[in-house]
């Protein structure tokens, strides 16, 4: 297939599937809390609605960044789709994409001039604690498979079985990132309701539309990467079932867990990350992992 056509199709799939999964996430959370909840299609409708809403700019903003950052956010997750589902390229590129995502989260908050956005920006710096377990998980995947290339990792798993059984604690570290980035997560300190909508508070209209578009693609890409590097070669149906299952698990966790304070959030993430890191190191050096 033509490369451009494949990129376009994969981006559309990522947007639609990500939106529906986020809608499902919200629905499951509501049902766990004994509320009817919105329809599953609601996140998708919200995203499309914002593209046609009037867009305004607060007078306090740093305009170039305030506007530019939303387009950069959308662009980097499109790069994530290209590096992941389309090209099966290096995991380090996806790590880079995630690092830019952190920067965008930071700058969307600070560029508005709003105190809520500013506080969210400072918390985005603190929540950098999730990057270290992510990096450690990627390094462990390399140590076992001998490659950073996603295509080669898939090939390795087709011969040796899914990595989730070989390095389960590394999978837990990666899964913690997914929980952190899921809506209403106990670790979502940048979007704490005490900060209204955190870094998104002052973005509305078309700009919020791009943010919703990116959120949907980001959720799809993170689930895709997790399933691909830990669950071996999967068919389209396998990906669908896996994504629904992870969405269900995260929704259940988020529905039953209160948001943590920033300090507790960081300490919990570092503690879980450290336990999994040293656990995996011990597994590798004691020969449990071949």
């Amino acid at each position: 297939m033509n490369l451009m056509a494949e990129i376009l199709i994969q981006v559309i799939i990522a947007f639609l599937a990500g939106s529906l999964l986020l809608g499902l996430h919200r629905k499951i959370m509501a049902r766990v809390q004994r509320r009817p909840g919105p329809p599953i299609i609601q996140h998708l409708l919200h995203s499309l609605k914002f593209f046609f809403k009037e867009t305004g700019f607060p007078r306090t903003v740093s305009k170039v960044f305030y506007i530019g950052i939303t387009f950069i956010l959308a662009l980097i997750w499109v790069v994530g789709v290209i590096a992941g589902p389309v090209a099966h390229d290096s995991l380090l590129i996806l790590f880079g994409v995630y690092a830019v995502y952190k920067i965008v989260e930071h700058n969307a908050g600070s560029s508005s001039g709003s105190p809520y956005g500013k506080l969210s920006c400072v918390r985005a710096v603190l929540s950098a604690a999730t990057e270290l377990p992510l990096f450690a998980a990627i390094v462990f995947v390399y140590l076992v498979t001998g490659t950073m290339n996603i295509g080669e990792i898939i090939t390795y798993q087709s011969v040796n079985g899914p990595l989730i059984f070989t390095i389960p604690l590394a999978a837990v570290m990666f899964f913690m990132l997914i929980i952190t980035k899921s809506p209403y997560s106990p670790f979502a300190i940048t979007k704490d309701k005490a900060l209204i909508s955190g870094f998104e508070t002052e973005h509305y209209g078309l700009l919020r539309g791009f943010m919703h578009f990116s959120e949907a693609i980001a959720w799809y890409v993170m689930l895709w990467v997790f399933l691909t590097i830990f669950s071996g070669p999967l068919t389209a149906a396998g990906y669908l079932i896996g994504m629904i299952l992870i969405t269900f698990i995260t929704a259940f966790i988020n529905a039953t867990t209160p948001i943590l304070s920033p300090n507790h959030s960081v300490m919990t993430q570092i503690t879980i990350g450290a336990i999994c890191f040293f656990g995996t190191v011990i597994m590798i050096f004691t020969g449990v992992v071949a």
């Binding site: 007078r59 306090t60 903003v61 740093s62 305009k63 170039v64 960044f65 305030y66 530019g68 950069i72 980097i76 790069v79 590096a83 390229d89 290096s90 380090l92 590129i93 790590f95 880079g96 994409v97 690092a99 830019v100 952190k102 920067i103 930071h106 700058n107 600070s110 560029s111 508005s112 001039g113 709003s114 105190p115 500013k118 920006c121 400072v122 985005a124 710096v125 603190l126 950098a128 604690a129 990057e131 270290l132 990096f135 390094v139 390399y142 001998g146 490659t147 950073m148 290339n149 570092i270």
Partner: protein, 224 residues
């Protein structure tokens, strides 16, 4: 470890004697993002930060970046962006440590002109850690040079790691963690982000994160 295994297909090289600059999709992505952000910083003006004026009133205080401070901070931010971009494509271990140290100094410089005590305190604490960590940073690179006879990453990637190289890499990692101010050192740096001047603050965060991402690649190249 092989350069291609880590960063994807080799897009091109610039051989400068022993030192070979190389470009993979991974390096290109980091380099392009940094240059893009640096261009945005050069053309943007800072936001006006809104803060509560005092208790029991609905008044707000507007905190702005004045003209002189704006010019100083923009200049330092652009230099920081360029230095970080250089660190993304350099093929030389010593150049990387130099870019790293330069980024650390510029990060402090970017917030040194502000007049908020908490921000200046934070910059001072970060400065102390950055200074202390410059010793293991450069020391680590020097030990790797002494043990292997080269600083070229493309040559180092083909060598097996001796115990001295592992020791040098561990020292470098400590230096990089302190200089970039990531966990567990971010506690000293987070308060720096409270100051107005969003375009300048973003480059502090961006340069630190990207240098860590590049450091991961470099350490894997040297060690495996």
């Amino acid at each position: 470890m092989d350069i291609v295994t880590l960063g994807g297909n080799l897009l091109g090289t610039i051989p400068l004697g022993d030192i070979v600059l190389y470009l993979t999709p991974f390096n290109l992505f980091l380099f392009a993002v940094l240059l893009g952000f640096t261009a945005l910083i050069a053309f943007s003006k800072p936001e006006t930060q809104i803060e509560a004026a005092k208790f029991n009133t609905l008044g707000v205080a507007e905190v702005k970046v004045d003209e002189k401070e704006f010019k100083q901070r923009r200049f330092l931010s652009v230099i920081c962006g360029i230095a970080s971009a250089g660190a993304m494509i350099t093929g030389d271990l010593f150049n990387f440590t130099l870019f790293m140290a330069l980024v650390g100094i510029l990060n402090i410089g970017i917030v040194s002109a502000v007049k908020q005590t908490s921000v200046l305190n934070s910059a001072f604490n970060y400065g102390l850690i950055a200074m202390m960590c410059s010793l293991p940073l450069f020391g680590g690179a020097a030990i790797i040079l002494a043990a292997t006879g080269t600083l070229s990453l493309s040559v180092l990637s083909q060598m097996s790691a001796s115990p001295m190289v592992v020791f040098g890499a561990i020292l470098m990692l400590i230096g990089i963690l302190g200089e970039s101010g990531v966990a567990p050192f971010f506690a000293s740096k987070a308060e720096m982000f409270r100051t107005p001047g969003s375009p300048f603050i973003v480059i502090i965060h961006l340069s630190s994160l990207f240098i860590i991402v590049r450091a991961v690649e470099i350490l894997l190249l040297v060690l495996w």
